[in-house]
């Protein structure tokens, strides 16, 4: 038995291996590059790890990160999304209705939401434990989301769920390399090989925007409608400004030439190979439909080129392996398979021959949020929705007058900003509207002091012809207890971004390829029907802050007053006025000050008559010896101070 057993195991292992080894678990890495209209470049890294369900596959994995598997099982997570973002996504210039801007443009700081598969009464406890675990896992202050004042439970405006969702955001959380390193550790090859090896830290952090995101989708606990198993999606979205050697080049039309760039010029490294564990490893270059139409207008270019000319006016340094066109618009995707270039570093680059101006496809409304009012007592929050030109593209001119568009707003405010929900007003094109006519649904959860934040979920139904819509709501500023103030309280308090969703418009792109969309996780994600979503700015609300040294000052001054009072009283009690006067007189009779004597002698000589004895025995206080000595001493000290320390 002793000998047979190990042999049996080896046999089983060898037989089972070819089914098991990576058969169930998959990892893929992809990079999407996109030139942006404002002379910047978007780089979007997409890593995806999947594992089959535990009941079929077991709980030992070869590719899937152990930490995430344990996280899912310990907290029974159905869905989780965690993002660390620095900078703000510019919806106007970088796009607002494509999958990247809807799913990967995140509010500054940390945003975390999770849906749990636990009984409703355990959701809060699970959330708290989860925040602490994630805090340790990602070296961030996510544990500050464990307080009931820091998170909320959106009912419908953020995501449809049955009460087991929790949402929290930390707008002031600084994001840096200590958060990226644990995120990279979840990749099987980390940043040692594959696409992640080009992630040069200075290149990332000097960019205009970077957002690292982690999304877990699990069907381990019998959820419906989700692929079985666990899906871990890790994305890193960066907007960088390429170094431009030809900045001064401008054309007669006044247009500036777009900067030429390559992977090496952006990240300082070339792609030197794939992660050997990745099923697919591809780089995509996307030219938006608006850019493609501009390029088509340029005309045929006959100039000689050393690269691959894909469009008149644009030249690629490497020939794409595949060109994929979008089904609905004229967007184009060039696919470069890293595996095919495995023996030679891959450096995809773009060269512009003509100045081209285009704009990205935006969301129907551009959302902004600002504060109104002044002072430390009260104010108003206004969310402004401004129609973009692209609304016409999406809706169509002929339907603009008759159609309506739904806009869903989800906003969480801390308890110390006491929102008065009855003061909600909606202005359409500057006119105050009757609220029930515009607001389809409103659900509010008033804040409770030191217990829960205020949550506002509003569904608006706006006519498509609306140019601007403004929603205002008044609030009172609360007072915090002295130990509730955060460090640097005078800076103000950040109110997390509001989420604005357009449920009628789907942010999806359908790229038709031979096999690309079937095999490429990133293209599959692009095809998912997710509504267009955008975040507003983080609001900075100044609150009344006390003088934090005040208690100490009060104690000190009170003590000083007491001490003075006490000392004076004591002096009065023990003073002997009569005796003092007598002593003073004796002293005055005994001696006369030297200086006044000399002065009086001098003056009498000058006048030419004999000196008369002074009427008053007391010397002038201004001219006393002691005073003069003191003045001289002080002056000496001042000179010495100035000489040595001045």
């Amino acid at each position: 038995m002793g000998i047979i057993q190990p042999v049996l195991i080896v046999a089983l292992v060898v037989l089972g291996c070819f089914n098991l080894c990576y058969g169930g678990e998959e990892f893929s890495e992809e990079l999407l590059l996109r030139p942006l209209p404002d002379r910047k470049v978007l780089a979007h890294f997409h890593f995806e790890s999947t594992t089959p369900p535990t009941k079929d596959y077991g709980h030992h994995h070869h590719l899937f990160p152990k930490a995430i598997y344990q996280l899912v099982h310990k907290f029974r997570i159905r869905e989780l999304e965690l993002s660390f973002t620095q900078g703000r996504w510019n919806y106007e210039r970088w796009g607002g209705s494509d999958p990247i801007s809807s799913s990967n443009a995140k509010p500054p700081g940390v945003e975390l939401w999770a849906i749990f598969d636990v009984p409703l009464d355990q959701v809060d406890a699970t959330w708290k434990n989860l925040t602490h675990t994630l805090s340790g896992l990602f070296c961030a202050s996510i544990n500050f989301l464990d307080s009931t004042t820091a998170y909320s439970s959106p009912a419908w405006a953020f995501q449809q769920s049955s009460g087991s969702i929790r949402y929290g955001a930390l707008p002031r959380e600084a994001v840096c390399t200590e958060n990226l390193t644990p995120w990279l550790k979840l990749l099987p090859c980390r940043d040692k090989s594959g696409l992640a090896s080009i992630l040069d830290r200075p290149a990332i952090y000097r960019g205009f925007y970077h957002s690292q995101r982690l999304r877990i989708t699990s069907n381990e606990f019998g959820s419906e409608g989700i692929e079985p198993g666990i899906d871990l999606e890790q994305t890193l979205t960066i907007v960088v400004q390429p170094d431009d050697q030809r900045t001064s080049t401008s054309y007669s039309s006044g247009k500036m030439l777009q900067p030429d760039w390559s992977i090496r010029s952006i990240f300082g490294r070339k792609i030197s190979g794939t992660c050997v564990l990745a099923r697919s490893s591809s780089v995509f270059l996307e030219l938006e439909s608006t850019l493609v139409s501009e390029l088509n207008k340029v005309g045929v270019d006959n100039a000689a080129s050393d690269g691959e000319q894909v469009y008149p006016g644009v030249e690629l340094s490497v020939a794409p392996d595949q060109v994929i066109k979008e089904r609905k618009s004229s967007s184009v995707l060039f696919e470069f398979s890293v595996k095919k270039h495995d023996y030679k570093p891959l450096d995809i680059g773009v060269k512009w021959k003509y100045p081209i101006v285009w704009s990205c496809v935006q969301a129907p409304f551009q959302a902004n949020r600002f504060l109104m009012g002044s002072g430390n007592e009260r104010g108003s929050i206004a969310i402004s929705l401004r129609a973009t030109n692209h609304q016409r593209i999406i809706v169509g001119d002929e339907f603009r007058d008759n159609c309506e568009m739904r806009v869903v707003i989800f906003q969480v405010v801390p308890w110390y900003v006491k929102i008065y929900f009855h003061t909600v007003q909606v202005f359409l094109d500057g006119r105050l509207e009757h609220t029930p006519a515009v607001i389809e649904i409103i659900q509010v959860s008033p804040s409770e002091d030191r217990v829960s934040p205020g949550v506002m979920e509003i569904a608006l139904r706006l006519p498509c012809s609306t140019v601007s819509a403004v929603i205002t709501v008044n609030f009172d500023k609360g007072f915090l207890h002295i130990d509730e103030y955060p460090p640097d309280a005078n800076q103000g308090y950040d109110i997390p971004s509001a989420v604005v969703r357009f449920p009628d418009i789907q942010a999806s792109t359908y790229y038709l390829g031979e096999n690309s969309s079937q095999n490429s996780p990133i293209l599959s994600k692009f095809q998912e029907n997710n509504p267009v979503l955008s975040y507003t700015e983080v609001l900075l609300v100044p609150l009344a802050t006390p003088d934090f040294s005040m208690p100490y000052n009060v104690i000190t001054i009170t003590c000083t007053v007491f001490a003075l009072y006490f000392g004076s009283l004591l002096n009065v009690l023990r003073r002997r006025v009569g005796e003092e006067e007598r002593l003073l007189k004796q002293k005055a009779a005994g001696k006369t000050a030297l200086l006044p004597l000399i002065l009086s002698k001098l003056s009498s000589k000058l006048r030419g008559r004999s000196r008369e004895p002074s009427e008053s025995p007391s010397p002038s206080p201004l001219l006393s010896n002691k005073l003069i000595m003191k003045v001289i001493l002080l002056a000496g000290l001042a000179v010495a101070w100035h000489f040595y320390f001045g």
Binding site: V7, V10, H61, K66, C189, R279, C559, G567, N571
Partner: protein, 615 residues
């Protein structure tokens, strides 16, 4: 109000009068006012200022008391006493031993074997053997040995022992029949026969038995799974005594270790009684080759039986991962003679590359769970084969090493090192599977070593029924469990005494009620563990000792202990100085002045008085 001195006439004593003119004063009445005075100096002001000064000084303790930080009273004295007791007098198991001699004929005292003498001889031998034992665990020094001899001549038990014999006289023939079967059934039979009365012992302790059978056959010693051992063979009396004493000391007292369980050794069990065994397969460079394992199968077949057995010692869970791009951080050199890359034992501290080996603590192991890491390292093709050279120059047969309390590392070299050194795509080559048999043997032996099980049963002439898997024998579990209890209590003593000293030395540290509650519970649990251990209720004592230790840790690491920095003495001093310094200055100066003046005036008065007398 401004009365200066005690006046010569009572009319001048009215305090409500306006200040007296110098002519009215008693001092002026003297022709030489600077040196003499006729009236006695007044003491009203002196009394007043002294009262203020003393009130001030007496009021200071009240003020300090009123601003005192809340400190729950802790039983510092009890903690120190108990901690010192654990330190100075190690706990030992209450043990009872019984030797049963079957079929031994005759002896020095006529027809029967001299059981009285035998009892003393075994006892002496045992004391001799256990003299150099470790300080923790083991048996109480007051143990006794009961000896029963049964032969055709009859059955006799020694009177020197205070314990009754558990052996039922007349069972010899039944045992003889059983011996024809396998050892397992003999062991079970012995347990059923001896265990029937085992629980009836008055003080709760259990008895260990060695049955010695004199037979004309090859010597055979078997240590059973419960509390019994049996010896068969043709022995003389001395031989038999030696063997019996040896079994008693080595196995039943010391848990199977030659030197006993020494102080300082430690079980890798978390304070919550949990251990996570984390197995990691590290592919140093996946560009060269990728190896994989079927860990489900390893866990199911090999680890599960061990976990099941160890369940009484610890709650064990297993997890695994495969990591890539994990080079070691030490260097190796090429040895031409061995045609291998060599790393020596000196390199071991640098072998584990904490930068690249993100073994991590486990999310599943929360709280105080202990994680033991077991790593199988597959070197890259650039340093394959990689061998560990021992200090004596030989190559390690296991090619691995353990780090106590951390885990172990095994270097596993692929069978054909020159096979691949070209970069190929993963889809083109299958991930290869490890030689599981070898690897798992090493991993499991490392696991055993981490559990302080370095014995080599196969080399011993004594057959241990639990030899395939350790910790399956009752006697071993008792020793192990008691060892853990003792270690926990020692740890408890250390942490509680340190905590007490810290709290006492920091006079302004806050001690909240919760800390007191935890300390009291911890003290109770430690006392309970000690009592249970001395009664031989080892499972309960282990549980209590774990609880005591966990509570002691909780109390020690309670966050409120940090509040000391929020209200330090310096802070308090800074707050109250603006009041106390000026007031104290006023009061003290006034007191000093007044006292000086009083002395001066008193001297004048005395001078005046003596002058008046002289005149």
């Amino acid at each position: 109000m401004a009365e200066i001195d005690e006046p010569p006439q009572p009319t001048t004593t009215d305090p409500h009068q306006t200040p007296q003119t110098p002519l009215q004063s008693g001092v002026i009445a003297d022709p030489n006012p600077d040196n003499t005075r006729s009236s006695k100096p007044g003491i009203k002001r002196l009394i007043m200022i002294s009262t203020v000064l003393f009130s001030f000084i007496l009021g200071l303790p009240f003020l300090l008391k009123s601003i005192e930080i809340y400190r729950s009273p802790l039983p510092f004295r009890d903690i120190e006493l108990l901690g010192d007791r654990f330190e100075s007098s190690p706990r030992r198991l209450p043990c009872k031993f019984q030797a049963v001699f079957l079929g031994f004929e005759g002896g020095s005292s006529g027809g029967f074997f001299d059981v009285e003498k035998l009892g003393f001889v075994i006892l002496d031998e045992m004391r001799e053997l256990s003299r150099n034992n470790g300080k923790c665990g083991g048996c109480d020094l007051n143990y006794t040995v009961s000896v029963t001899a049964e032969s055709e001549a009859g059955c006799v038990t020694n009177q020197g022992s205070s314990m009754p014999s558990l052996w039922q006289c007349g069972s010899f023939s039944e045992l003889d029949d059983r011996l024809k079967e396998d050892d397992e059934s003999v062991d079970e039979w012995l347990d059923s026969m001896l265990g029937k009365y085992n629980g009836d012992l008055a003080d709760g302790g259990k008895m260990y038995t060695v049955v010695v059978m004199s037979r004309d056959e090859e010597a055979r010693i078997v240590v059973g799974k419960h509390r019994h051992a049996w010896i068969r063979g043709n022995f003389g009396e001395k031989d038999a005594v030696d063997k019996v004493a040896n079994i008693f000391v080595k196995y039943f007292m010391n848990g199977g270790k030659e030197d006993g369980l020494v102080k300082g050794e430690f079980m890798p069990v978390g304070a919550d009684g949990r251990i996570v065994l984390s197995f990691s397969l590290l592919n140093a460079d996946p560009q060269h080759w990728i190896y994989n394992w079927n860990f489900e199968r390893i866990e199911e077949v090999k680890l599960f039986p061990i976990i099941k057995v160890l369940a009484s010692v610890a709650n064990i869970s297993v997890e695994s991962q495969v990591l890539y791009h994990t080079p070691k951080s030490s260097f190796s050199y090429w040895d031409e003679k061995l045609s291998s890359f060599i790393f020596s034992t000196k390199d071991l501290p640098f072998f584990v590359n904490s930068n690249e080996w993100h073994l991590d603590t486990s999310i599943a192991a929360g709280g105080r769970s202990k994680v033991l890491q077991f790593v199988v390292y597959i070197p890259s093709a650039e340093e394959c084969p990689l061998l560990l050279q021992l200090p004596n120059g030989e190559i390690s047969s296991t090619n691995g090493f353990i780090s106590p309390m951390w885990g172990g590392v095994v270097v596993w070299n692929p069978s054909d090192c020159e096979k691949i050194f070209t970069v190929t795509l993963i889809s083109d080559r299958k991930a290869e599977i490890l030689d599981i048999e070898m690897m798992e043997w090493i991993a499991i032996s490392q696991l055993r070593q981490n559990f302080d099980d370095s014995s080599e049963p196969s080399l011993s002439p004594i057959l241990l029924l639990q030899s395939t898997v350790r910790f399956s024998a009752r006697w071993e579990l008792i020793a192990r469990s008691f060892h853990e209890t003792w270690q926990n209590l020692m740890f408890w003593g250390t942490i509680q005494i340190s905590s007490s000293k810290l709290k006492q030395s920091r006079g302004r540290g806050l001690i909240i009620g919760k800390i007191r509650h935890q300390v009291m519970l911890s003290l109770q649990a430690a006392n309970l563990a000690e009592n249970n251990a001395s009664l031989g209720i080892y499972e309960a004592s282990t549980v209590s000792s774990r609880q005591a230790r966990a509570l002691a840790e909780d109390a020690f690491f309670h966050p409120s202990i940090m509040s000391i920095s929020y209200y330090s003495f310096e802070h308090c001093f800074a707050i109250y100085t603006p009041f106390f310094l000026p007031v104290l200055l006023h009061v003290v100066l006034a007191a000093v002045k007044e006292w000086k003046r009083y002395k001066k005036e008193q001297a004048k008065y005395l001078a005046g008085k003596s002058k008046a007398k002289a005149e």
